[in-house]
Structure formats: C-alpha cells, structure tokens
Assembly symmetry: C2
Homo-oligomer: 203 residues x 2
Amino acid sequence: MQDDAKPDLTTDARPGRAVRADALRNEDALLEAAKIVFVSAGVDAPVRDIAAQAGVGIGTLYRRFPKRSDLVAAVFRREVDACVAEAEVLAATHPPGEALQRWLNRYTVFLATKKGLAAALFSGDPAFDALPAYFRERFEPCLAALLQSAAGAGVIRADVAPYDLLRAIGNLAVSTGDDAQRHTQDMVKLLFDGLRYGAVSKG
Amino acid sequence: MQDDAKPDLTTDARPGRAVRADALRNEDALLEAAKIVFVSAGVDAPVRDIAAQAGVGIGTLYRRFPKRSDLVAAVFRREVDACVAEAEVLAATHPPGEALQRWLNRYTVFLATKKGLAAALFSGDPAFDALPAYFRERFEPCLAALLQSAAGAGVIRADVAPYDLLRAIGNLAVSTGDDAQRHTQDMVKLLFDGLRYGAVSKG
DNA sequence: TGATATACGGAACATTGTTCCGTTTATCAA
DNA sequence: TTGATAAACGGAACAATGTTCCGTATATCA
C-alpha cells in the first residue's frame, strides 16, 4: 500500500497538485452542517438548507456529494469515528468502570441521533452497503478495549461479547414514545449493572 | 352505531345524495394502479405516474388521497384483505393440509411485495399507526382457522400459535440477496414440515 | 508575483408535489 | 325523459426541491 491515502475526497485535483485548503474547509463545514440539519429536519431535508447552513453554494455541495446518500454515509462514518474517539478520551481520563459506563451513555446518544437514518439504511441504496460493516469494525474493538480494561480492574465480569452488547443496546434504543430516551438509558444502566453483578473481585 | 358505514371514502357528497359511481370506479382504479406502480417504482414513485396508470387526473388522486401515506395505507389494507380472502377460497377448494401450505406460500408473496413498505411503516407517520394492528387482526384469525382445520384433520400438530407463525415467516421474509425468494420459500417449507412432524394421527 | 489549475457560487433548468377552478357528468325530482 | 344541480373530474398553474453548468474567484506553485 502506497501512502497516497488522502482523505477520500472528491476533487478535481490531479496527483501533482495539493488539494486546496478551502476545499478541505468546505468539506468539513458541509459534514457539520449536514449533521445538524439531519437532526432537525431529517435526512430528506432540502440540500439547499444544508449548503446554506454550511455557508457554501449548492454547486460546492454537489461537487463533493453528488448523491444525497454520499452525504448521509459520510456523516454516519464521521459520527461513528467521533464516538470511537471519545472512548479513547474517556479511557485516558477515567477509571475503567466509569469510562465504560460513560461511553455506553455516549453510545446511546449516538444511536438516538441515528433513528432517522434507520429507514435510509434499509432503503437498499448500495451507498449504504458498507456501513454496517464499518459500524462493527469500528465499534467492536473500541468496546472490547473498554470491557477488557474494566474486567481487568475487576469491576465487571469478563464473559460478555462486545458485539452482543452493541446489538443489545442497539435494540434497546429503538424504543419509541415520549420517554424513549429515559427508558433506553434506564435499560442500558440495568445492563451495565448486570455486567457488574458477576465481577471477579470487588462485589 | 348507525349503519351509515359506507366505504371510508373521501367525498364531497352530503348524506342526502349517493356517492357517484365514477368516484367508486376511480377509487378502485387508483388503488390498483398504486399497487402496480409501488412494486415497479417504489412507494416514492411520482403521483403523476399513479394517476396516469389509473387513467385519471392528478386532481382526482389528491381528492381521494390528500397525502401519499393515505394511498400507501389503503393499498396495504387492500392487499391484506386480498390475501385473507384467498385463504377462504383455498380452504373451500383444497384439503386442509394443502390449503394451509398453499396459503403460506401466498403469504410469503404478500410479504415479498411489502419490503418497499417496511421503511415507510417505520417512518413514524401517524397514518401508519393503525396498520400493524390491522395486520394482526386480519391475519391471525385467518391463519388460526387454517391451522385448526389442518390439525383437526390430523395433518399437522396443534401446539403452534398462529401469531408466532406469522411473525416467524415475516422474519424469514426479510432476508435479502439474489436468492432471497427461494431462500424464504425453502425455509417456510421447512417450517411447514416441522408442523407436520408432530401431527397427531397420520405420520 | 504572475500563470494556471482548482474550486466556488448560484442562475437556470428539470422534476415532482400541491392547489384551484372551469368543465363535465352522474344523480334525482318532476 | 329531461332539466337542474350537486358532485366529481382534469389538468393548468404554482411551489418546492433536485441537478447541471459555466463564468468568476482564488489557492497553489514556479
């Protein structure tokens, strides 16, 4: 593998020339804007609104993300990455058990903002085919590290598969209704208590 | 409850006057057209296409179905009804075991055409809120009758709950891929064989 | 600092959703 | 059977959104 691995950015630049700085800035602004607009107006929000929120022209949006699904997928990856990155921060700044608990909460927040995407994910658009794998690739090692660390500290039991936990919480998070968020977080906490119940050393 | 129960048709007619015959005809034509277009172009197909397929103007479509979800829900109910009606026909024209087997196949066909609707059903549109209940209300007694009849004839065992079977097949039918249909039907057949395995009298 | 590749912006066009009203037609009473 | 009238029809017109295209602006590099 050569290290021509630039950010996978749609650009007119040929190998010789560097990608322009404003192009990078706008890519970032668009993703941030899309994230905000998707939450407030759904993934079917008008592209004009996203461009406006980002402070760029429509043409710029289309240059980077020719199809809506490109933008949706990019936002999804970006938020997965952000959630994973936070795990590392938490692990470095909190004791293992607390880091785990805090991250599970962070993960439920991630899931909550993805409800609007669920329908899109099942739409059959090939642009989304790779996302489930990406989801697992990124989250499984991430949670595995937190679990192993907490288990090593004797705070939780060690016999729960990371992916099982990811899925269980994912299922808990699909509940709907007024108090969905409270309900989900309560149930996740219950799960976490379950983890603690069988811990090796401390009660 | 008075017996003013006409078909729940949006109409300008006041109680005094009968609903016009062309209105009824067009309602039917629109539902039939929508069913066809939804299969070939998805539930987001342009309303113009549906009106054209039905041979009516756009205004007529909007008069009956002001929102797309109204049309989607009406088509859904209509197809549920058609599938249920076929159960009665099969029960009257085939021996119990064969009627059951044939209907289960018919049911998988119904499910297959509903994949495009799955996303819509989960969209949170209140127009769809009543559909799951309708689904169960109609299908559960329908399948219960077939099962009871077959069990009475000693062709299958009698300890399977109709709703469990409906759900199991529903889950089998969500599989995707090139051979999804074959796979689903194979698995449903396996289920059916399972029903036969514990039959009371005949082996 | 000038030349040039690159990217930007938004007008213009295309597609689809939705409303509105003049025209047509089914119904019903005479 | 026929005329009056309510009811429904059809599609033009308008609105909202998606998409393309190209003249203009600017970052990069020699």
